[in-house]
Symmetry: C2
Subunit: 222 residues, 2 copies
């Protein structure tokens, strides 16, 4: 811990761009930890994340004071702090709704557990899928979704259902107590202001790629 404590800056004003960098810090620190590297300078960590050392110090100052002048950061310690800030210092239970190809891919994706998220249950409305086992979890009937979320006090859900039913599923999840939804269905979801939706837009990433390809050609031609 350093000498300054800026913990009292107004946390409600933390810019979204800073929050979106927390996973990057987590990723690089995890990588360092897995390689038994104990210490990293702010210059090195900043370079990994693609920002300046002063931006890095400013980012972290929103959450407390970390690191030491001339020493840098203790990898395990900062990783632990970042995990606490994100809220993944304890495993976070998640429900998955939709057991089609994408749902199965997500259920099988080992990486979530390393990131602190555990898929606790999978739901679908397809009688041909209900009862099948994916990655050790039996696919449950969607009719039990609300009860399960309430009983297990789950706050996060992943939606991989078709667009036509995504809003209805969302409404059920929110009514049962879900506070955050990762949405793969290609529609915008309406939720109350205390519920957060992150939308995964694969098509958007393809568009950015395509633009970058054309753009690098223009550069070459100029």
């Amino acid at each position: 811990m350093g000498q300054n404590d800026q913990r009292h800056r107004n946390k409600n004003k933390i810019p979204m761009v800073v929050i979106k960098r927390l996973p990057l810090y987590h990723r690089y620190l995890s990588l360092l930890a897995s390689r038994d590297i104990n210490r990293i300078s702010s210059a090195e960590l900043a370079a990994k994340v693609g920002i300046t050392p002063s931006q890095l110090r400013q980012d972290l100052s929103w959450f407390g004071s970390f690191g030491q002048q001339g020493y840098g950061y203790r990898v395990q310690e900062l990783l632990g702090e970042i995990s606490k800030i994100i809220g993944i210092d304890q495993a976070v239970p998640v429900v998955l709704v939709g057991a089609g190809h994408l749902g199965k891919a997500i259920a099988n994706y080992q990486n979530f557990e390393r990131k602190g998220f555990v898929i606790k249950a999978i739901f679908d409305n397809n009688p041909g899928l209900i009862g099948l086992v994916v990655n050790g979890l039996k696919i449950r009937n969607i009719t039990g979704l609300k009860h399960y979320i309430q009983q297990e006090k789950i706050e996060m859900g992943i939606i991989t259902v078709p667009a036509e039913v995504a809003q209805q599923i969302t409404d059920e999840m929110v009514a049962a107590g879900i506070k955050g939804i990762l949405n793969f269905a290609p529609i915008s979801l309406n939720v109350p202001s205390d519920v957060t939706v992150e939308h995964v837009h694969i098509g958007d990433s393809l568009m950015v790629l395509k633009y970058m390809i054309n753009h690098s050609k223009i550069k070459e031609e100029e």
Copy 2:
């Protein structure tokens, strides 16, 4: 077309944040077009994208001049221009490598075609998958990947293979002429400077969600 032409601003300096908004413009304009709405004010379009009208005008000024003072934008016309800027005014062929659950989900995802991308071929190394048909495409043997990319002059690829083989597949794709890769494998890929990689980090989105959930609780408790 408006009165100013700023087409000569240095296109190499277009901020990434502006480029990343192009898909948002595309999405909302497509939605309006599908509802037969012909015209939109800059205030309305900006609100949809979550920026100010002046930011919207600034964004678009990087690419030319669009809209008319007091009239707004013709939806179809601006949608056409944005499509051209992104490079999806003609269908963009894409190869998909990896026919596991995620690969199959992507191959079945109808939304890509509406966005201008067409998956032309799917490759895998699993003898149990090669020859099977997904969404009308026969899964091909990975040994034919390089030849196919060269022959069909494909520039974009999607990787859904395990992390252990992702770099090797990337090297092959790049050697064959691929210029843009959408990577779902949970590792960083090394590519030459004229190749762009967009990484889909589903775990990152979950972390941001989790942070937002905790944060909104803190607000309530304060």
